[in-house]
């Protein structure tokens, strides 16, 4: 395929409105293959809404209307024939973990099973690998059959990370994944992300600007539904970014 050269995701003039209120005002950017792409920005700037446009989980909001195009591997996500497969290819970790009311094992095995994987051994291996990648395996390996919702907040969040990895996505979207996770574990997961980025593309929305700095090749600064600045992370975090507001935000003197 021609499109498979560089760009995994190409967003062009994307607008999103909830009923009549537009919250994303025509933004365009692209994400390269196997890059870690960070999105930073203050609250309400539309970061979560943007992610939900990528894998069409925005469909769950009945009054949301989206215009413009989002291309994933050259295919318009809104024209895709199989939205379920699309969602498996673009995995999502939500900021508030929602453990499915199933056992820990079944939580992780959920997506593979939906995709038709039923071989017990294969599933066992996959579940273990995903839980290890999410830095959760050691804590839960002895109680895989207890309820996922009975884990602590941070553990549940890591469980959702394991779950998002379980369907082996091409793109992994992480929305403030570390808000309930302690710094040490966060570092472990960040290492895993770096490792993963050799094979998959990662879109990382984060409130921890330093996390973007540590991980991302490029960083996008969003504000009020628009892109203020998009560039190489070193530049965005330097003393002379292209936009003054970027400097203020990154240095915590925004407002």
């Amino acid at each position: 395929m021609a499109a498979s050269t560089e760009k995994t995701i190409v967003v062009d003039d994307l607008r999103l409105a909830y009923s009549t209120r537009e919250v994303i005002h025509g933004i365009s950017f692209d994400v390269g293959r196997n890059e870690i792409f960070a999105i930073i920005g203050p609250a309400q700037s539309g970061k979560t809404s943007l992610l939900r446009c990528l894998n069409r989980t925005i469909d769950f909001v009945a009054d949301a209307s989206m215009t413009g195009t989002v291309l994933f591997e050259g295919e318009d996500v809104r024209r895709t024939r199989d939205v379920f497969a699309l969602r498996r290819k673009i995995g999502m970790v939500a900021p508030l973990p929602v453990g499915l009311p199933l056992s820990i094992y079944d939580n992780v095995a959920f997506a593979p099973r939906c995709a038709g994987m039923h071989d017990r051994e294969e599933l066992d291996g996959l579940v273990e690998r995903c839980l290890r990648q999410a830095a959760l395996w050691d804590e839960v390996k002895d109680r895989l059959n207890s309820l996922g919702t009975a884990l602590s907040g941070g553990q549940q969040q890591r469980l959702t990370i394991a779950r998002a990895l379980s369907h082996q996505p091409d793109v992994l979207c992480l929305d403030e994944f570390s808000i309930a996770i302690d710094p040490v574990t966060t570092m472990r997961i960040e290492d895993v992300l770096k490792e993963l980025s050799r094979e998959i593309t990662i879109v990382l929305v984060t409130n921890l600007v330093q996390q973007a700095r540590r991980l991302a090749k490029r960083t996008m600064f969003m504000w009020k539904g628009e892109i203020v600045e998009l560039g190489v992370t070193e530049v965005v975090f330097s003393d002379e970014p292209a936009d003054r507001r970027t400097y203020d935000y990154v240095h915590g003197i925004f407002g």
Partner: protein, 312 residues
């Protein structure tokens, strides 16, 4: 940012203390609530006691044999020479009609509940719910009437059975009566499952049917089980409709086209003609106790099943 006082001084507001009268009022309310809670236990015990008191004397007479009562199919309460009080055929009738009703009502009822909660549009949902509530409001004697006339003719023409009032007829009528309960309680149970579960499942690439099967139904299973058991309760206890629709013949049925009689219908039909205080009268009350025990056993099983599921 101006409202924050300089460090050191702390703003303190004194909360007014609670007045004695308020405290007394709260106590009284608490006691009242506790009483209404316990009154439920009281009423159950009282009802059981009175029914049992009417029945008890016959237990100690020579013509009564507990084994015959439970396991004999001979029900001749008014025989001159040889009175026999065997309720096995009646118990069997009750169980058979209820089981048949549930075989029909559970798939339809739960299916309808899933459709209403997950697939129907807003307007359609409103309409369906209203219609189902209407169905629940039809008096049981009207159902019996339908069984006796419409359904019975239908059964005779379709199956060629000699009589149309039989096990099948009663089962269908009871199913129709239990479905509204199963649907509305089942729908409540599904509605109680948070939307975030549905979205999380679908965000993982599950189709709607996969989401329903793997997430929704397990999450709502206690409520759905309760819905089914309320349906069972309704079917076991129903009297008028089964009296009219089942044919009222005391026998163990050999197929769905045989007539049967249920415990409830038997009591309703015979209590009026049994002289108060006679053995027949007392045995009918004992039949009531038996019915009570059956429903109690159903509820207890349900309770344990739910608890077992929860532990899993």
């Amino acid at each position: 940012m101006t409202a924050i006082p300089a460090s050191g001084e702390r703003v303190r507001t004194r909360l007014p203390g609670r007045r004695p009268l308020t405290i007394l009022g709260e106590r009284a309310l608490e006691i009242l609530i506790r009483l209404s809670g316990f009154s439920a236990i009281f009423f159950v015990l009282a009802i059981f006691f009175f029914v049992f008191r009417e029945a008890a004397p016959v237990l100690f007479t020579s013509e009564f044999d507990p084994k015959e009562f439970l396991f004999s199919t001979q029900w001749y309460p008014t025989s001159e020479r040889n009175v026999r009080y065997g309720t096995w055929a009646l118990t069997f009738g009750s169980v058979a009609v209820t089981a048949l009703a549930m075989v029909i009502a559970v798939p339809f009822g739960l299916g309808a509940a899933i459709y209403i909660s997950e697939f129907s549009g807003k307007k359609q949902k409103e309409i369906l719910k209203i219609v189902i509530e209407l169905l629940a409001a039809i008096p049981s004697v009207v159902w019996g009437f339908i069984g006796l006339t419409v359904m019975s003719k239908l059964i005779v023409t379709l199956t060629g059975a000699p009589v149309g009032v039989n096990l099948l007829n009663g089962g269908i009528i009871l199913a129709l009566m239990s479905i509204p309960i199963i649907v509305s309680i089942g729908e409540d149970a599904l509605k109680a499952v948070p939307d975030s579960y549905r979205e999380a499942a679908e965000a993982l690439g599950a189709t709607k049917l996969q989401m329903i099967r793997r997430v929704l139904l397990p999450a709502a299973r206690n409520g759905l089980l309760a819905a089914v058991l309320l349906g069972v309760g309704r079917a076991v206890g129903e009297t008028m409709a089964v009296l009219m629709a089942t044919g009222h013949a005391v026998q163990i049925p050999h197929g769905p086209l045989d007539s049967v009689r249920t415990l409830t219908a038997n009591i309703a039909a015979e209590l009026g003609e049994a002289a108060a205080g006679s053995p027949h009268y007392r045995v009918l009350f004992l039949t009531g106790v038996l019915l009570f025990c059956i429903t109690f056993a159903v509820n207890l099983t349900a309770d344990m099943a739910i608890r077992g599921l929860r532990r899993k």
